[in-house]
Every structure is written in structure tokens, then in C-alpha cells.
Symmetry: C2
Subunit: 241 residues, 2 copies
DNA sequence: CGCGATTTGTGCACGAGTTCACAAGCGCTT
DNA sequence: AAGCGCTTGTGAACTCGTGCACAAATCGCG
């Protein structure tokens, strides 16, 4: 869930590449298309049909075509999309032409796993700094980076041009950490702590909560088991994110 | 991606509480309400207004009331909702009255963190078994559970009535693992591997992909930085260049 | 016992997102 | 050069979700 500007004032008409005002739902799918495209590129294909790409990304092909049309991307009728070109277009749209620096706060159980995660680097991001409040952890080297004390956040963030922060602290500390991140100039936050963050306008927050995902699955389990005793009902399939 | 029962007449047979056909968006928010309610209960409050609960859960109060009305929950006008009662109602709806057994497959970097996560237990789930394909890891005790070899999955799943599986293996192995889970009777899967899973009808899959979350944030960063460079109108070059 | 303060539940209008279905465009073949 | 099969791009209908605004319900109090 992210915070949202109320219909941003984007009425402009410059000669700029013009950021198309993409539907949020489309934005959320672009990364999936991108991953699928990289996979396809690795298998040697240089073009892909909307049908094929849609299957690889797990979506409906009409939806995929509409999504791509939103960002003005041109495929070739009768042929499909040029894989390399499309990758470039999506990466540009997502702002991945520059590798973005990320700060990770809270190097505990989860933080350790994240700090060592290779998928970060391979998909456009660079963990630029690790922070923790626990002095016992400060100085510990993880994956080539030393854990720093949270008090250094502002300094380091400025030095490394960090605009994205990841919170992996206990929920009780998350709001304080978020405030510190915002104060340090961070404008996008990914929050793993199970709590609601309050941030100023202009700062985006996304949240990942494992328990919530499981509880949603639990609901469907509950429903499925109730249905098996009822006639006429048939089971269902996947659930979107 | 999403699913729909073909207009289930919802013919309630006996005197059973009757499953209301909740909108998917509502289902996705119920866990958040539940978490907020537990938090509120801890602070000693026994009733809460829709306004208060909505704030705690980070949503609009009208939306919250509509969500709750869907599951037939009755608050008291002029007063608010009974916290304890509402917790029970939501937990029942989500199928959390029984503690659900979960199998975790892939005890690597991320899997370790998940296996040690307390939030699992405190929110209605029980990690019933850990699996890995790496013989070197088999037998390792984590948090009171021994890692078992993936070949034991079917046996253990049946014995422990496991209906939910979590995949924390590399993407290359995820589809095989998913197949194995399904074969073992699992009907809900939470997938941390960055890939699309194909599963038979009747099996629910939810996916958590850290890189996707970051890329969505990146998009908004991109957009924000483009906007600040042209506040009024004059636009030369916005990005990159 | 009635009145005002409060808060729920919901009808309704609007907007976002999805899906269908098909014309238009492209390349290959004859 | 014309025809044919394939695939994109998109108008339009439709479904789903959101939020306003207000009537109905309840409580506390004088
Ligand atoms: N472990 C998991 O698998 C998992 C899964 C989902 C969500 N989460 C959530 O992620 C968060 C972290 O979980 P964990 O298991 O790693 O916990 P943890 O206790 O192992 O680690 C938390 C870390 O945050 C640090 N910290 C505490 N307060 C801080 C502050 N003010 N500033 C900076 N650092 C601070 C602690 O020193 C510690 O190192 C929790 O909110 C948890 O609910 C964890
Ligand atoms: N580490 C993270 O923070 C993080 C974050 C987001 C997503 N992920 C994703 O989660 C997955 C796991 O990441 P990780 O860092 O823990 O990787 P990892 O390599 O540390 O662990 C993977 C584990 O899976 C086991 N495994 C491999 N094939 C298996 C099979 N067929 N059956 C059972 N077990 C098998 C391996 O033995 C290993 O123990 C990856 O897909 C990764 O992209 C990781």
C-alpha cells in the first residue's frame, strides 16, 4: 500500500519525454513484465508476442497490451515486441537507468537476510548502507558493508544520495526510524514491520507483511473447506498481489 | 488472476453462520484491522469508533465501515465497535479460529529468518515443518524444529494436516517445489521466489517479491524527481540526459 | 421522557481497472 | 502486387472499488 498524491498536477506540455501518467495498477505490473522479459532474453528470443509475454508474467494478454500501450511502447503488428527494446523502455519508465542507493535499517534476523540478498543488486539497486541501534552490531561486516549506528543516518544518506529506505526493525521502533529516514531526505520507504507508518506528503510507503499474506490465504482455505460440503460450488485458483 | 465464484447463490444450508461473499479488497484489509484491533485491545480500550480504528489501520473510515458491514458485523451507533467482539468476528471470518499448520521449504538465507520469526506464531500460524533439498542442512535444528529432507514432504504434510506452504528456495527450484507441495495436498502457497508459479485450479498462490516493491518505489522516485525539476512550466530536460 | 450529540450502516455517484472484440498494420507467400 | 495469416493497439462495455453524505439508531443527560 502506498501513499498517494491526490491526482498530481501533471498538466504539462513540454517537449520532454513526457512522463505518461500511468495507472497505478499498470506500474505494479511493469516489474513483473521486466523480470519475465529478462528471462525470455536469456533463452535467446529477440521478439515475443503479447500472448507469450503475458503467459510468462502470469497475466491476461489484453491487459498486457493495454499496459504497454500506456507507456507508448510500440510493438510490431503481426510480429510482437522487440525484447531488448521493451526492456529498455520499461527500465526507463521505472527509473532504473540509474542504480538506486538503498539504506537498510535494522540488521536483525530479517535484515541479515536482506543484506545478503543478491536479487537487490541484479535488479537495479545497491545497498549503500546498513544501520542498527544496537551497539553490539555496529561495526559488524555483512557482505562487504559495515553496520553503522543509526545516528549516522543523516550524514551517510546525504553522502550516498540515498532516497530509498528499508525498515526491518521491530514494529515498536518503526515509526521512529521512519521519521529519521524522512529527516535524512529519504522519500520512499519499504516497511517490513507490522505497523502503519505516518509520513509527510510526498513520501511513499510500501509495506510487506508476511502474516497478512498468510491470513489472506487462511481466509481462502477457510472458504474452500466450507465449500467442499456445499454442492454447486467449484474451487478457485490464484490470487493477485 | 483473481477469482470468482459463478454467482454462488450462497444457499446456506443449516444454521451455519453463512459465509458472506466478501470482496477481495475487503479480505485483504481485514488482517490489517485485526492487527490494529489487537493493538487497541492492549491499550485497554474496549470499544473503538470507526474513525479511530480506521486511523489505526491507515484507511478511510467510510471504507472501514463498509468492509465491516460486509461481514455482517454489528457495531453500536453512537458508540462504536466492541473490540473483543470484532476481533472474534474477524478471526472467524479469516479462518483463524484454528491454528493453521505451515510448511516452509528452503531454509537458506531468507528461510532461516522466516523460521525464526515470532510473528508467525502470534498471528495464527504454526510452522509445522522445515524442508530443504541440501543434505548438509537436513537435521539442523532451527527454533526447535529439525530440517527435513524435501522427499519427506508428502508424508509429513499428511501427518500434520498442512494446507499452507511457503516457498523460500531459488527461483529455479520454485516450480518443482510448488508441484511437490500440491502433490502433498497443500492448497495455499506463499511464494518468495521471483517467478510465476503454475498451479492447478483450486490452489491459491500469493507472491512476495522484494525487488518488485523496490521497483515500484523507484518509479515514484523517478516521477518525483522529474516533477521537482519543472515546478511551474518551463521544461528543458527532466531526467537522465 | 424527550432531546441533542454521536456514530453506524448504506444508497449513490464516480472513478479505476479489466476484458472483449475487432479494425488496422505488418510480413510472408504466391 | 495482392492476398493471407498473425498480432498489436484501442474503443467501449462492464465489473469492481471508493468515498461522500445522510438517515437511522443509540446513549447520556437534564
Ligand atoms: N524475521 C522475519 O522473517 C520477519 C518476517 C516478516 C516481518 N518481520 C518483521 O521485520 C522486523 C524485523 O524482524 P527481525 O526478525 O529481524 O527482528 P530482530 O529483532 O531480529 O531485528 C531487529 C533489529 O532492529 C534493530 N533495532 C531495534 N530498534 C532499532 C532502532 N530504533 N533503530 C535501528 N535499529 C533498531 C535491533 O537492534 C535488531 O538488530 C519486525 O518488525 C518483524 O515483525 C520479520
Ligand atoms: N534473502 C532475501 O532477503 C530474499 C528476499 C526476497 C526474496 N528472496 C528470494 O527467496 C528465495 C530464497 O532466497 P535465499 O537468499 O534464502 O536463498 P538461499 O540460496 O540462501 O537459500 C535457498 C535454499 O533453498 C534450498 N533449495 C534449493 N533447491 C531446493 C529444492 N528443490 N527443494 C528444497 N529446497 C531447495 C537450498 O538448499 C537453500 O538452502 C530466492 O528465490 C530469493 O530470490 C530472498
Amino acid at each position: 500500500m502506498s501513499q498517494h498524491r491526490p491526482t498530481g498536477p501533471n498538466g504539462r506540455s513540454g517537449g520532454v519525454p513526457a512522463l505518461p501518467d500511468l495507472p497505478e495498477a499498470t506500474v505494479a505490473r511493469l516489474p513483473e513484465y521486466l523480470r519475465a522479459l529478462h528471462h525470455i532474453a536469456e533463452t535467446g528470443n529477440d521478439t515475443i508476442s503479447s500472448e507469450g509475454l503475458a503467459a510468462a508474467a502470469g497475466v491476461n494478454s489484453a491487459k498486457l497490451r493495454k499496459d504497454l500501450s500506456h507507456l507508448g511502447s510500440y510493438g510490431t503488428r503481426g510480429v510482437g515486441y522487440d525484447v531488448a527494446l521493451l526492456i529498455d523502455q520499461i527500465e526507463f519508465t521505472l527509473g532504473l537507468t540509474q542504480r538506486r542507493a538503498v539504506a537498510l535499517v535494522g540488521v536483525g534476523n530479517l535484515g541479515h537476510a536482506l543484506a545478503g540478498y543478491a536479487g537487490f543488486a541484479s535488479r537495479g539497486f545497491r545497498i549503500a548502507a546498513l544501520f542498527d541501534a544496537d551497539q553490539a552490531r555496529v561495526g559488524e561486516p555483512i557482505n562487504g558493508l559495515d553496520v553503522r549506528h543509526i545516528s549516522e543516518l543523516a550524514t551517510v544518506a546525504a553522502a550516498e544520495s540515498i532516497a530509498i529506505g528499508v525498515i526491518a526493525t521491530p514494529a515498536a521502533a518503526a515509526q521512529d526510524v521512519a521519521d529519521a529516514l524522512v529527516a535524512a531526505g529519504v522519500t520512499s520507504i519499504l516497511n517490513f514491520a507490522p505497523c502503519v507508518l505516518s509520513v509527510p506528503e510526498g513520501v511513499d510507503v510500501r509495506k510487506v507483511d508476511l502474516a497478512i499474506e498468510l491470513q489472506i490465504l487462511s481466509f481462502h482455505e477457510h472458504r474452500k473447506s466450507a465449500l467442499t460440503s456445499l454442492p454447486g460450488g467449484l474451487a478457485e485458483e490464484a490470487v493477485g498481489t
